[in-house]
C-alpha cells in the first residue's frame, strides 16, 4: 500500500507535515522502541542475587523480549521508510474512505472513564446505564425516549444476572439499597 498524494505542497513546512502524515507509522516504531527500553531497563536493574534458581533467572526472558522490541522497532522503521505500510483493518461497519472521526473516539474514551469513576459511588446499575447511554450518544444515537430506557434495562438485567445468578459480585450502590 504505497499511495502517494498527488498535490504538491508549496512550502517546506507543509512538505514536512505531509511527509510526517505519510509516515505516521513511524510513531509505532517510536512506541516499540520506548517499550523496548522500558523492558530492558526494568530487567537490567532487577536485583536477582537472592532469587536466582536454576540456570535461567527471571531476567533472561525480559532481556530477550526487550532486545526483540528494539530490533523490531528498527526493522519496522526501515520497512516504513522504504514505503511499506500496515494495512488498516477493514470490517462490515468500517468505512475507510472517510478520515478518522476523532471526536467520537475521544467522547467514547471520556464516557468510559466517567463510568469507571462513577461505578463505586453510584453502583453498577447506574454507572452501567450511563455508560451505555453515553456510548450510544457518542456513536450518534439521539433517541432521548428510547436510549435511556434500553440502557437502564440492560444494566439492571446484567446486574441481576451477574450478581444474583452467576455469583459475581457487582456493587449495587445506593439505588440497590433503596430497592
Amino acid at each position: 500500500m504505497t499511495t502517494r498524494t498527488t498535490d504538491i505542497p508549496d512550502t517546506p513546512s507543509d512538505e514536512r507535515r505531509s511527509w510526517l502524515r505519510e509516515h505516521s507509522e513511524l510513531g509505532v516504531c517510536v512506541l516499540l522502541l520506548a517499550l523496548g527500553v522500558l523492558v530492558l531497563t526494568d530487567a537490567l536493574t532487577m536485583d536477582v542475587d537472592l532469587t536466582q534458581r536454576g540456570p535461567v533467572g527471571p531476567k533472561t526472558v525480559p532481556v530477550v523480549v526487550g532486545v526483540g522490541l528494539l530490533v523490531i522497532a528498527a526493522l519496522l522503521a526501515v520497512d516504513v521508510l522504504r514505503g511499506g505500510r500496515g494495512q488498516a483493518e477493514t470490517g462490515e461497519d468500517v468505512d475507510l474512505s472517510e478520515p478518522a472521526d476523532w471526536r467520537t473516539v475521544v467522547l467514547l474514551t471520556g464516557v468510559f472513564l466517567g463510568a469507571a469513576a462513577l461505578i463505586e459511588p453510584l453502583g453498577f446499575p447506574v454507572a452501567g446505564a450511563l455508560l451505555f447511554w453515553g456510548a450510544a450518544f457518542a456513536l450518534g444515537s439521539r433517541r432521548t425516549d428510547r436510549d435511556p430506557l434500553i440502557a437502564a434495562v440492560l444494566s439492571l438485567v446484567t446486574y441481576v444476572v451477574f450478581n444474583n445468578l452467576l455469583g459475581v459480585p457487582l456493587p449495587g450502590g445506593p439505588l440497590m439499597g433503596v430497592l
Partner: protein, 500 residues
C-alpha cells in the same frame, strides 16, 4: 473401542438438562454473534470469560464450543445476504452466496450453507473423536522441552503464516509477551515491570487483555470509521433446497470437511485457507461453470461452508491434545482453561475425562440444535442485521466493562482495559494483527516456565531443549515455516531461469 465408550459417557454429561441448556445458549448466542456485524466469535468468548467465575468448567466450555460452531454458522448468513462477511471464515461464502441471493436464490444459498455446516461439523467432530485420543496418547510423555517447542511453534506460526507482514506480526507478538511479563515472576517471585505498584504485581489478567484488544479496540476502531449508512440486507424467506440442488451439492458437503479439518488442526490461520481451497476445488469440479461468479453456484457455498465447520473441529484437536491454539477463538478458550487452572494437553484426557468427552459430545448436540433451530429461524436472524449500530457498539463497550470489572472488582482494571483497548485501536490502524499479541499474553508466561524448567533439568545446557525426538521434529517444522518465503522465492527463480 475405548473412545466410543468415553463418548457415550460424554453424551451422559452433555445431555443433562443444565448442559443441554448451555449448549442451546451457546449455539443461539454464537449464531447471533456470527450474524451481527462487528462481533466475532473470539470477541464473544472473550466477553463471556467472566462467566468462568460463576459457572462450572464443563458448562462453560460446552457454551464456548457452541458459540464457536454457531458463529461459523451465522457468519455465512451475513455473507450471503449482505455481501460483507461477518468472520474471515465466511469470506468465500460471499463470493457465490451473495450473487445467488441477488438472483432470488437466497433461500437455497442459506440452506446449502446450513446443511454444509451440519455435514462439516459432523464429519469433523467424528474425526476429532477418532484422532484426539490417539494424539493425546502419542503426546502423553512429552515434557518441558516439548511444551516449549510447541509454544515456539505457536508464536512463529501466528506471526509468519497469518497476515501480510511478518515484521508487524512479530511486533504484535512482542507487545503481547511484554504484557505477559508484568507481575511477579512465577518461579522466583521477582517483581517485573510492576514499577512498585501493588495492582500490577498480580499481573494483568488475561481476561482484561483479551477483552481490551478484541472488544474495546474494535469498538473504538469502528467508532472512528463508522459507516454512515449500513448496507441493506437482501430480504429472504425460509431456507429450502429442491431435489436438483441436493443432487448438485451432496458431494460438495462431503468433500469440504476433508479439506477443512487438517487445516484447522495446524496453525495456518483457521478456516481462511481451507474455505478458499474448497472453493477452488468445487469450481474446478462443477458441471455448471456458467453460474460461477454470475448467478452464483450453489456448490461454491456448500463446499466451503462445510470445510469451515470441519476446521473448527480440527482446531479443537490441537487445542485439547497439545494446548496449541491455532485460531483466535482457541486462544481465548485456552485463556478460559487457565482461569480454571486446567492445563490443556495430553493429560487432559486422563485428568478431566468428563469435561473433555462432555465437550465433544456437546458438539454433536450443538450441531443438531443448530440445524433444527436455524433453518426455520433464518429470517429472524436476518433481522438482526438491522440493529442500530450505536446500540451494538455501545453494548460491546458495556459488556467489556462488565467483564473487566468482574475480574477483581477494581476500578483500576477498567483503566487498564481502556489503555489496552487504545493499544488495540492503534494496532488496527497500523495493520498490526491482534492474534499474535493475544497468543503472546496467554502462552508467554507458560512458555517461559517450560523453558526454565527444561534448562533446569539439563543444568543450563541448551541441548536440553532439543533432546527429544518430539521437540526436534517441532523445531524442524518451525525452520520450514521460517524458510518458506525463501524457498518460494528460490522456486520462482529456478522456474523463471530456464525460460529466460
Amino acid at each position: 473401542m475405548d473412545a466410543l465408550t468415553s463418548l457415550m459417557d460424554g453424551f451422559g454429561t452433555a445431555l443433562t438438562p443444565v448442559n443441554l441448556l448451555w449448549a442451546a445458549v451457546g449455539v443461539l448466542l454464537g449464531t447471533a454473534i456470527g450474524v451481527l456485524p462487528g462481533i466475532g466469535p473470539a470477541m464473544a468468548v472473550a466477553l463471556l470469560l467472566p462467566v468462568t467465575y460463576g459457572l462450572d468448567p464443563t458448562g462453560a466450555f460446552i457454551m464456548f464450543a457452541g458459540i464457536y460452531y454457531g458463529a461459523m454458522f451465522g457468519g455465512s448468513t451475513t455473507s450471503i445476504l449482505l455481501n460483507t462477511p461477518g468472520e474471515s471464515a465466511a469470506v468465500v461464502a460471499a463470493m457465490e452466496g451473495n450473487p445467488m441471493a441477488k438472483s432470488g436464490r437466497g433461500a437455497q444459498a442459506l440452506a446449502a450453507a446450513a446443511i454444509g455446516h451440519f455435514a462439516g461439523g459432523l464429519i469433523g467432530t467424528t474425526l476429532l473423536v477418532a484422532l484426539a485420543p490417539t494424539v493425546a496418547d502419542l503426546a502423553v510423555d512429552i515434557g518441558a522441552p516439548d511444551y516449549f517447542a510447541i509454544m515456539v511453534l505457536a508464536f512463529i506460526a501466528v506471526t509468519s503464516v497469518l497476515g501480510s507482514s511478518r515484521i508487524r506480526g512479530l511486533a504484535s507478538l512482542l507487545i503481547g509477551l511484554t504484557l505477559g511479563l508484568v507481575g511477579l515472576d512465577q518461579m522466583t517471585g521477582q517483581q517485573r515491570l510492576t514499577f512498585g505498584s501493588l495492582q500490577l504485581a498480580d499481573g494483568i489478567d488475561v481476561v482484561i487483555v483479551a477483552v481490551g484488544l478484541f472488544a474495546i479496540g474494535e469498538a473504538l476502531w469502528v467508532a472512528a470509521h463508522l459507516r454512515r449508512l449500513p448496507a441493506e440486507p437482501i430480504p429472504v424467506g425460509r431456507p429450502w433446497l429442491g431435489r436438483d440442488d441436493v443432487r448438485r451439492t451432496w458431494k460438495s458437503w462431503l468433500r469440504g470437511p476433508f479439506i477443512g479439518f487438517p487445516f484447522g488442526a495446524i496453525p495456518a490461520g483457521g478456516a481462511e485457507i481451507p474455505t478458499f481451497l474448497s472453493y477452488v476445488t468445487e469450481k474446478r469440479l462443477s458441471k455448471h461453470q456458467e453460474e460461477w461468479g454470475r448467478k452464483g453456484a450453489i456448490e461454491g457455498v456448500a463446499g466451503p461452508e462445510s470445510a469451515a465447520s470441519a476446521s473448527a473441529a480440527g482446531t479443537l484437536v490441537s487445542m485439547l491434545t497439545l494446548g496449541l491454539p491455532t485460531t483466535a477463538v482457541a486462544a481465548v478458550m485456552l485463556a478460559a482453561f487457565q482461569q480454571y487452572g486446567i492445563q490443556p494437553g495430553p493429560l487432559l484426557f486422563e485428568r478431566e475425562p468428563d469435561l473433555v468427552w462432555g465437550l465433544i459430545a456437546s458438539l454433536f448436540v450443538g450441531m443438531v440444535l443448530l440445524l433444527a433451530l436455524n433453518l426455520p429461524l433464518a429470517p429472524v436472524w436476518a433481522k438482526l442485521l438491522r440493529i442500530p449500530r450505536p446500540y451494538l457498539y455501545a453494548g460491546i463497550m458495556f459488556f467489556a466493562a462488565v467483564g473487566a470489572y468482574a475480574v477483581g472488582g477494581e476500578v483500576v482494571d477498567l483503566v487498564i482495559l481502556l489503555i489496552i483497548g487504545l493499544i488495540g485501536f492503534g494496532m488496527r490502524r497500523y495493520g498490526l494483527p491482534i492474534l499474535p499479541a493475544v497468543i503472546g499474553v496467554i502462552l508467554g508466561p507458560n512458555a517461559e516456565q517450560q523453558l526454565r524448567r527444561a534448562l533446569q533439568i539439563s543444568d543450563g545446557s541448551v541441548t536440553g531443549l532439543v533432546d527429544t525426538p518430539f521437540a526436534v521434529s517441532v523445531y524442524a517444522v518451525i525452520v520450514l515455516l521460517l524458510a518458506w518465503p525463501l524457498l518460494k522465492k528460490l522456486g520462482a527463480l529456478t522456474r523463471r531461469s530456464p525460460s529466460a
